[in-house]
């Protein structure tokens, strides 16, 4: 792989009382849809929080676009993030949520921001929800609104934490389609955490699988190939939904 967008070397991470992942190496190529897989409690979301820069690793390095790990020190966002719950600002309308970064970090006049907001909401199928508060929309709509907010600043990299968890099959499929379109049409690199097998096979180009017991990456590559070819019983169980 040449010139990866994300390069992780010797990463060790965890919480104060326990290590979740030790000495992990992996790369994410530009234009990839990279899925972080694994059972509950293996550290998928924690790894994502480290990639985003919300937590500092115990050891190792994370580089994004050739520079060090993101530091979140109050500069314009370079990538978009969708949190598992959506994490929309509850005191702002959906439209204001999407407009947030544009209002804070650009000199665009309000009509221009409004036009961008409407376009982003149309992209995720939420034109009618612009003036609604987050409390007035469903969980699926919150997730789509969160994606619109993450896309508002035109990032080249999008982090998604469990995008289709808790959604009905139709909404989940629509979200998968949206991720594919964003990746193909805009060249967006997507890093996502999910356990939804259908989503993994539909949108994932590459993946890593974390294991709670060994605190390591136990598989990497194309998820479809891993499902067919992996001889690791833990990987086979995951993809075949078999009980341990």
């Amino acid at each position: 792989m040449t010139d990866p967008l994300i390069r992780v070397r010797g990463l060790t991470l965890g919480h104060t009382d326990r290590v979740l992942l030790e000495n992990a190496d992996f790369d994410v190529a530009r234009g990839d849809v990279f899925v972080i897989l694994g059972g509950s409690g293996c550290g998928k979301s924690t790894l994502l929080r480290h990639l985003i820069g919300l937590e500092r690793p115990i050891g190792g390095q994370i580089e994004i676009a050739g520079v060090g790990a993101p530091r979140l020190v109050g500069e314009a966002p370079e990538y978009g993030v969708m949190f598992q719950s959506g994490a929309l600002f509850s005191s702002l309308t959906v439209g204001e949520n999407v407009a947030f970064a544009l209002s804070e970090w650009t000199d665009l006049p309000q009509p221009a921001i409004n036009a961008i907001v409407r376009a982003k909401l149309a992209l995720v199928g939420l034109e009618a929800a612009e003036d609604k508060l987050p409390a007035e929309i469903s969980g699926g709509m919150k997730k789509r609104a969160a994606i619109a907010r993450a896309l508002a600043f035109e990032p080249s990299l999008l982090f998604l934490d469990e995008p289709s968890a808790g959604l009905d099959p139709v909404s989940a499929a629509e979200l998968d389609e949206l991720i594919i379109v964003l990746n193909r049409a805009l060249g967006l690199t997507v890093v996502m955490v999910t356990h939804e097998l259908q989503s993994i096979f539909k949108v994932g180009k590459n993946c890593i699988m974390l294991d709670k017991e060994s605190r390591s990456i136990i598989a990497r590559g194309d998820p479809r190939a891993l499902e067919r070819e992996s001889r690791d019983p833990r990987v086979r169980r995951f993809f075949r939904r078999e009980a341990a």
Binding site: R49, L54, G74, Y79, V81, S85, A101, R149
Partner: protein, 374 residues
């Protein structure tokens, strides 16, 4: 009522053979539990126990749990126990209910009083360090906001001034009016006894502007706005809104905390002036009604004893009080972890720490101003 299950016990070659039949459902759980405890009481007489489930027609989770409990208890006493004759579905259920043995956490040793006091002292020390650390970061955020005024969230400054200031006016007026009223009423009898009626103006006026106006106002602001800040920021923290804010390039300290603290500090002196005035009005009312001191005499006396420093010192206190409780409330809110329970815990903690800090600061100010003006 006859039990819906059968329980046949036979001794065979040093072991105990139990054959159960019929329906083992929640309705039968009490009867089954009696049988289980009987076996556990007699267990030492047997080298092994087998439980035949071949005649069981239906088995639910509750009765199954009791049987698994029996097996586990016998196992602990080194009496092997096995289930035989169970159907395929029942075997699967038995495996699911009893296959994993969780390691028990070592029970916490109860701490003695000295240890508890020591731990509490360490906690207070750490909490103080966190607040000071937070205060330092806030100074840096304020300096950055001064350099880049656009980065300050002015909308929240005005919103805080409205919520903590304008919306608090009725309660501030009521509480402080009653404070002045009660103080004058309590002192009226003593003053009248010495013919010192007019000194009610000195007492109420100076106490209100120097001490009670700023302090009572700060306590009201703490209860209303301090708790609200802690709960609001705590909820934002647990719902990942604070993380989302950071990923959008905005620092919570600069965007959420600074405007709230600034808003409180701007509005507190105005509230304190209102509190001073209405507290004195309460005193005027009591003086006129019970001490025959007319309002004009009250005001004239007040003009003679009160200096501008008395009012200014009260206003300085109010600014420091409001800034302190704003910082503590926001720090506690942003330290929230663990969902709704965590929000409640941090909100309580914010109010308690703020009230303690207010009283401590008031004592420090009293001594400091006393030294400065002596």
């Amino acid at each position: 009522m006859l039990p819906g299950f059968t329980w046949r016990v036979e001794s065979e070659g040093g072991g105990l053979a139990i054959a159960i039949g019929g329906s083992l459902t929640l309705e039968e759980a009490a009867g089954l539990w009696r049988r289980v405890t009987e076996v556990l009481e007699r267990e030492r007489r047997f080298s092994r126990v087998s439980i035949d489930l071949s005649q069981v027609e239906s088995l639910d989770g509750s009765c199954l749990a009791l049987l698994v409990h029996l097996r586990a208890e016998l196992g602990k006493r080194r009496v092997p126990c096995e289930f035989v004759g169970a159907g395929k579905e029942h075997r699967k259920l038995l495996e699911l209910h009893g296959r994993r043995r969780l390691k028990r956490r070592p029970r916490r040793r109860p701490r003695n009083a000295v240890e508890q006091v020591g731990q509490a002292s360490v906690n207070v020390f750490h909490a103080t360090l966190h607040v000071l650390d937070f205060f330092g970061e806030l100074i840096v955020a304020a300096a950055t906001a001064l350099k880049r005024p656009r980065s300050l969230n002015l909308r929240d400054v005005t919103l805080t001034m409205e919520r903590a200031g304008a919306d608090a006016v009725p309660i501030v007026l009521l509480i402080n009016f009653l404070t002045g009223f009660v103080m004058a009423y309590q002192s009226a009898e003593q003053l009248a006894r010495f013919g010192a009626n007019i000194f009610v103006a000195d007492l109420v006026g100076l106490a209100m502007v120097r001490e009670l106006g700023p302090l009572m106002t700060a306590i009201i602001v703490c209860g209303r706005s301090g708790a609200a800040f802690a709960a609001e920021l705590g909820t934002m923290k647990v719902s990942e809104e604070v993380d989302a804010l950071r990923t959008l390039g905005l620092l919570p300290l600069r965007y959420l905390v600074l405007p709230r603290v600034l808003g409180l500090m701007l509005v507190a002196p105005a509230l304190t002036l209102l509190a001073d005035a209405i507290g004195i009005a309460g005193g005027v009312l009591v003086a006129a009604a019970t001490l025959d001191v007319t309002p004009s005499a009250f005001i004239t006396e007040l003009q003679q004893v009160m200096t501008s420093w008395d009012v200014t010192s009260g206003l300085i206190k109010s600014v420091v009080f409001s800034g302190t409780l704003g910082i503590i409330a926001c720090q506690q809110g942003l330290a929230t972890a663990g969902g709704a329970e965590g929000v409640g815990r941090q909100t309580t903690s914010a109010v308690v720490i703020s009230l303690f800090s207010l009283i401590l600061l008031d004592a420090i100010f009293t001594v400091l101003f006393g030294v400065l003006t002596s």
